[in-house]
């Protein structure tokens, strides 16, 4: 993830605008980014890569944008990886054939009733606690009502006025490349809800009739939902462009209800972010957090983590927020940051040209190909979702014991981990990389638990091991190397039992095939030769076998020392201690001259 993010950011100069590099909240002054000069320098370097927007325009925007600040808030939907859906016993697996994981409950058949999966509460409490929120010990579910073909019941079970968790925060370390720095972003609320189904758009049946018909559950009499859709009773918000498009071209839509009823957590942030990179890092931290907690796979491509971003821009010094614009269709962290930066520059430009009133409250769509946002639908006022308490489900009552037991079982949070690594003396870059993936972090922790040298362990993991994983497309849990052996390897090198070079060889052996360091050393007879006499013998042998070169050396071609060292090493099968070898070789070469 991190690498994608960085790459994307390099492509885009606007991130580096020095606007709003500082922020005060609750009396805490957060660290600022690097000074403007340093940023300009970075920016210079990036210039050749700039594509969007054009160079000249960028310059002007950069200048103008110093006078504006952007306010960014994010709504995140996290799909929980519970075994079954939130209110029924259907499993959910991403990518299964349409409508193969449905039942009367998640299809909204007459007479069906939801039964709450208690894991949803557990996961929500975990996330609430990890986000430092205040939990509602008495909360409830509400119905959010609107019409949409992917919503089987005509309402979504959600939480309205009493969310399960409120008022938390999340700590984020910005990447070193962008000046680093620590930020704290507020969390407004966390609430539980269910996912809706998916619409499968196809033009004249690219989903073939046979397939769909075969997949229709026996209780579905009709699955086709006509051409011209839906003007629901109370709202016009549904006239979004997708529908209009379908109406216009007379295209059929099919509904896949596999996803309907899958539990979600909606996490709403305070409008605390100021730049695209901050927003992307916030989202990345949420991903890290849910993965650390094991409540979601946090995969943005699969839609397990979905971000809707609200961006508004105002002149610096103005306390009133500008008109906010929502951005959707963000399926990577880089698109989060790039779309925000595009949107900021768009809005700043409009403001600076005195056309600030042209910014309307709307939902915009991020187009990955064109790298820009386009209008999706204009809001004509607030939709009335007619929320009311879900009468089928009892209230959600948490006991202190329950919350405490969950609290005690929480894993170490990414933020705590990073601070711990930092204290160990690792560089920020190392800290961020190690703590980025819980599995890597666990591997690292296990390694240093075996008293391996911290810095060396970090280097091995992020160097050779990471490179191997990347080449072989493996995760750290899939490699054969175990932390204990890595610790052993590091100790062996440090203790001089084997050379660094041999160490590397062994490492790749361990990565690919497993086994123990000791076993491999023994099996391949790789113990470093540190006996001067033995080395001397080899040196003698080499010198004796290469009289011609020796003569040349003694004739002044001292560069040949390397040749001899190589030959000796070859004879020793790489086991000779290099220091000792050079020392003895030099002595021998020079002694007879």
């Amino acid at each position: 993830m991190a690498s994608t993010l960085f790459r994307s950011i390099h492509n885009h100069p606007l991130l580096l605008c020095p606007t709003a590099l500082f922020r005060r909240k609750n009396g805490v002054l957060y660290c600022t980014m690097k000074g403007t000069e340093a940023q300009t320098a970075t920016q210079e370097k990036q210039k050749p890569q700039i594509k969007v927007p054009p160079r000249t325009q960028t310059k002007t925007i950069d200048k103008i944008s110093k006078d504006y600040e952007a306010i960014i808030g994010i709504e995140t939907h996290v799909q929980l990886n519970t075994l079954t859906k939130a209110f029924c016993s259907c499993p959910y697996n991403y990518g299964s054939l349409p409508n193969t994981s449905v039942c009367p409950i998640c299809m909204g058949l007459p007479g069906a009733l939801p039964v709450l999966n208690s894991k949803v509460i557990e996961f929500a409490v975990k996330v609430g606690l990890a986000l430092n929120c205040k939990l509602s010990f008495n909360s409830k579910f509400d119905r959010k009502q609107y019409f949409y073909p992917d919503l089987p019941k005509g309402y979504q079970i959600s939480q309205f006025d009493v969310p399960i968790a409120t008022g938390g925060y999340v700590d984020v370390d910005l990447p070193v490349e962008f000046g680093g720095g620590h930020r704290r972003f507020g969390i407004t609320r966390v609430h539980m809800e269910e996912d809706a189904g998916k619409l499968l758009h196809s033009e004249n049946g690219s989903y073939s009739e046979e397939i769909t018909a075969a997949l229709l559950p026996k209780y579905c009499t009709t699955f086709y939902c006509g051409l011209d859709y839906i003007l629901p009773f109370f709202s016009r918000m549904f006239l979004d462009f997708i529908y209009l498009w379908h109406c216009y071209f007379h295209v059929s839509i099919r509904v896949d209800l596999n996803r309907a009823g899958v539990p979600l957590l909606e996490i709403v942030s305070e409008p605390d972010m100021r730049t695209g990179i901050e927003a992307a890092e916030y989202a990345a931290e949420l991903q890290r957090l849910v993965r650390y907690l094991g409540v979601s796979n946090g995969n943005m491509q699969e839609g397990s983590l979905r971000c809707d971003v609200n961006v508004s821009v105002r002149p610096i010094g103005q306390s009133k927020f500008g008109t906010k614009v929502e951005i959707k269709n963000l399926n990577s962290f880089s698109s989060v940051s790039r779309s925000i930066d595009f949107e900021i520059s768009r809005q700043v430009l409009l403001h600076s040209q005195g056309q600030g009133d042209q910014i309307t409250q709307e939902t915009r769509l991020w187009e990955e190909g064109a790298q820009k946002t386009v209008t999706m639908r204009k809001k004509e006022g607030l939709a009335d979702y007619r929320y009311f308490p879900e009468p089928d489900l009892p209230e959600v009552i948490l006991t202190k014991e329950y919350v405490d037991s969950i609290h005690d079982s929480l894993p170490e949070a990414p933020e705590v981990k990073r601070r711990r690594y930092e204290k160990m003396g690792l560089s920020m870059q190392d800290v961020l990389l190690l703590a980025n993936d819980i599995n890597v972090a666990q591997f690292f922790d296990a390694t240093i638990a075996k008293e391996a040298d911290v810095k060396l362990a970090a280097n091995w993991i992020m160097g050779d091991i990471a490179a191997y994983m990347k080449n072989e497309k493996l995760t750290i849990n899939e490699i054969k190397l175990v932390p204990q052996e890595l610790a052993e390897l590091i100790a062996s090198i440090k203790g001089g039992t084997i050379s660094g070079k041999i160490g590397k060889e062994i490492l790749f052996e361990l990565l690919a095939k497993g086994g123990t360091v000791k076993g491999l050393i023994k099996e391949k007879d790789l113990v470093q030769i540190v006996d001067p006499l033995e080395i001397e013998k080899m040196v003698d042998k080499v010198l004796a076998e290469n009289p011609k070169q020796l003569e040349q050396y003694r004739g002044g071609k001292t560069k040949l020392q390397g040749y001899f060292a190589g030959q000796v090493m070859k004879v020793s099968k790489g086991k000779a201690n290099p220091g000792l070898l050079n020392k003895i070789l030099l002595e021998k070469l020079n002694s007879k001259s």
Binding site: R143, G154, P391
Partner: protein, 684 residues
């Protein structure tokens, strides 16, 4: 086996004969398949409590072998892939499903006329009651032994009373709702019809039980607790019946009143006790019900969009978008009316004034009921010691205030007049209590309402009531419900009665003696100060009645009494001085006195104010918004004002009754926005 075959043949032939004239069934099995089903049941589940019992099922309960249509055009032909839990339980107990009975579409109606399959008829031409009219008629005309219905606001009890059979609504949560098509989830209960009390008990006992598929089903732990509470109750051969004074209303028709009176007399003669009790929030129950039930219905019925199942409207672009078209096509007028009503009362502008208020009324009503019964409510959190224990075993009141009307008359009724039919049945629904309608005379039923979970006792007492010999219809029941017919006298009577009951008898011990509620006839401020206030600190609620014809009322929460008492009394006095009755307070402040200056002075402290013209004897003078958007002031035309200030309307409907004792109040319900200008008749 032979008996089963014989019965199957008999029932099937009877169903065929009566199908045209009564239209009680939507779907029946033909003789052969019914016989086969009966044989199968006799073979697979022999010697069970319901063996050889033919059970008709209301068509909003899912069955896998018959279509489930809810009498709606939109669901015509829909077949559920699964059986409702109650149906599986009936089958497991040996019962044979005899067919699916007709109803008001989705259970919405009181006369079983709003069906896509035509109205349910009776042999007498009177209304069959609703919404489970088909089930009631099927039992009454011997087309089956037992029938399942659903009772949301009286849909089992009302048809049972109209058809002179037993109709039982169990406590909410005892019988699983899995597979019961939801109308109003928090009220829906599966109910039973039978002629024979033993069959009724069997059917109920077999259906009763925890179901993991229904989150509102009573848990096993609570069931155990309930059993302990029931077991610890001391056996009493003589019962104490409660008669809610709020049910003694002018609209009670003569025959019903006489039947009720005679029954009470007979009970008294048999050695049982009769006690006049009060359910102060009961008059608001009907309004609360007609806010809550449509609100939930508007949400529950949203799923019938024709996308996944059910009928889709014919494809024609002229008829509007698919959803609107399908729902317009699929739902009948009554269902559409209630969806609109519900959608309106849940909308952001209205929810606080309608839905939330109605929920408050519902809570109050539950508390009122709990304070009456000897048995504690296992669901209430209050510990037993804290509870002011009641004294009665069950409540006995009419199921319907009137005899069943002729079907032709019903068809001419305004929708809201039909709503009023449910006035006596909705209280038990709102409180989730078990209620049994016992046929006491032709087309007249009396309800036995018990404490939550006391279902078996209610069924037993029902037998006691049913077995009474009622002879002397004109004899008076010792002063208990001997209600004067003229309103002025009646008021005096009630006043006296309450004074006697609550105040005078306990005058010597003012601290403890007042009980929950006092109703006073107040003449002087001094009297109030010296006699009443010292005692009312612990009184939950207080009603002040000011002398002469004008009435002034006041009802406060526990803590609010002391704080506002001076002002309250002053308002009362001034109101009286002007010969007007007025004022009503909810929440923080006090509102009394009809004249404008007073009313306006109240603005600041009153969360909600309603001024009523006592002389005019109707709600009026609803003017400018005050406080949280409610009305005070006196514009020229009362009616106009009421329509304009729609936020105040809820208050009108709910609260007006307090001041207009003895009178039928007409007010305008502010639903003009959704095209539903409706008349609300609050019967007092």
């Amino acid at each position: 086996m032979q008996r089963a075959q014989k019965l199957a043949g008999e029932f099937s032939r009877r169903q065929q004969t009566l199908s045209k004239s009564l239209n009680a069934f939507i779907a029946v099995a033909d003789e052969q398949s019914l016989t086969e089903a009966a044989e199968r049941a006799a073979r697979d589940t022999p010697n069970k409590p319901l063996s050889d019992t033919f059970v008709a099922v209301k068509d909003n309960i899912c069955t896998s072998d018959f279509p489930t249509t809810c009498a709606s055009r939109g669901l015509t032909g829909y077949r559920s892939p699964y059986d409702a839990t109650v149906v599986s339980r009936i089958r497991a107990a040996g019962g044979v499903i005899a067919g699916k009975t007709n109803l008001d579409e989705f259970g919405m109606g009181s006369h079983s006329l709003h069906s896509a399959f035509g109205p349910v008829q009776t042999e007498s031409g009177h209304s069959a009651g609703g919404s489970s009219g088909g089930s009631a008629v099927a039992v009454a005309t011997d087309q089956c032994h037992v029938a399942l219905g659903t009772d949301t606001g009286g849909s089992v009890r009302l048809p049972a009373a109209f058809n002179s059979i037993l109709g039982f609504k169990p406590s909410y949560g005892l019988v699983s709702r899995w597979g019961v098509v939801a109308y109003a989830n928090s009220l829906d209960t599966v109910g039973f019809f039978a002629k024979d009390s033993a069959k009724m008990k069997d059917a109920f006992s077999e259906s009763n039980g925890h179901d993991a598929l229904d989150p509102t089903s009573l848990t096993s732990a609570t069931r155990k607790r309930l059993d302990t509470v029931l077991a610890s109750r001391s056996e009493r051969s003589k019962l104490r019946f409660g008669i809610p004074e709020e049910c003694i209303i002018q609209e009670l028709s003569g025959p019903v009143r006489d039947a009720w009176k005679s029954t009470l007399l007979a009970l008294q003669k048999a050695g049982h006790e009769i006690a006049l009790v009060s359910l102060p929030s009961l008059p608001h129950a009907l309004s609360a019900y007609y806010i809550l039930a449509p609100a939930e219905a508007s949400s529950n019925l949203a799923k019938y969009d024709g996308v996944r199942y059910g009928q889709q409207a014919p494809d024609s672009p002229h008829l509007g978008p698919l959803y609107a078209r399908t729902r317009q096509h699929g739902f009948g007028t009554e269902v559409r009316r209630r969806i609109l009503l519900g959608a309106y009362s849940l909308s952001a502008n209205a929810i606080d004034n309608y839905f939330m208020q109605a929920q408050r009324v519902r809570r109050l009503l539950k508390q009122d009921f709990d304070s009456l019964f000897r048995l504690p409510n296992v669901l209430s959190n209050a510990k037993n010691e804290e509870r002011d224990s009641g004294t009665i075993d069950v409540i006995l009141m009419p199921t319907s205030a009137t005899l069943p009307p002729k079907i032709d008359l019903v068809k001419e009724q305004a929708p809201l007049d039909a709503f009023a039919t449910d006035v006596f049945t909705v209280p038990a629904s709102l409180a989730g209590l078990p209620a049994l309608s016992v046929p006491i005379a032709d087309q007249i039923g009396l309800q036995v309402i018990g404490q939550y979970g006391d279902d078996h006792n209610v069924l037993n007492i029902g037998e006691v009531v049913a077995s009474l010999k009622i002879n002397n219809r004109h004899e008076r029941v010792a002063n208990v419900i001997d209600v004067p017919s003229r309103s002025r006298e009646r008021r005096a009577w009630r006043r006296n009665l309450c004074l006697i009951a609550d105040l005078k008898s306990d005058g010597a011990q003012p601290e403890e003696g007042l009980g929950q509620r006092i109703l006073l006839h107040v003449c002087k401020q001094q009297e109030v100060e010296e006699v009443v206030w010292p005692r009312v600190r612990h009184v939950r609620e207080l009603c002040l009645y000011v002398g002469n014809d004008g009435l002034a009322g006041k009802r406060l929460e526990r803590g609010a009494v002391a704080a506002d008492r001076h002002r309250a009394v002053r308002w009362v006095d001034e109101g009286q001085g002007r010969g007007r009755a007025a004022g009503r307070v909810v929440g923080r402040g006090v509102a009394l006195g009809a004249a404008e200056p007073e009313a306006l002075e109240v603005e600041e402290s009153a969360a909600r104010v309603l001024v009523i013209d006592g002389n005019g004897r109707r709600v009026g003078r609803v003017g400018q918004g005050v406080g949280e958007g409610l009305a005070v002031g006196a514009p020229a035309s009362a009616e106009e004002g009421a329509v304009r200030v729609d936020a105040a309307v809820w208050a009108v409907v709910i609260w007006a009754k307090v001041f207009l004792e003895d009178r039928v109040l007409e007010s305008v319900v502010g639903l003009a926005e959704v095209g539903l200008c409706a008349k609300a008749a609050i019967c007092v």
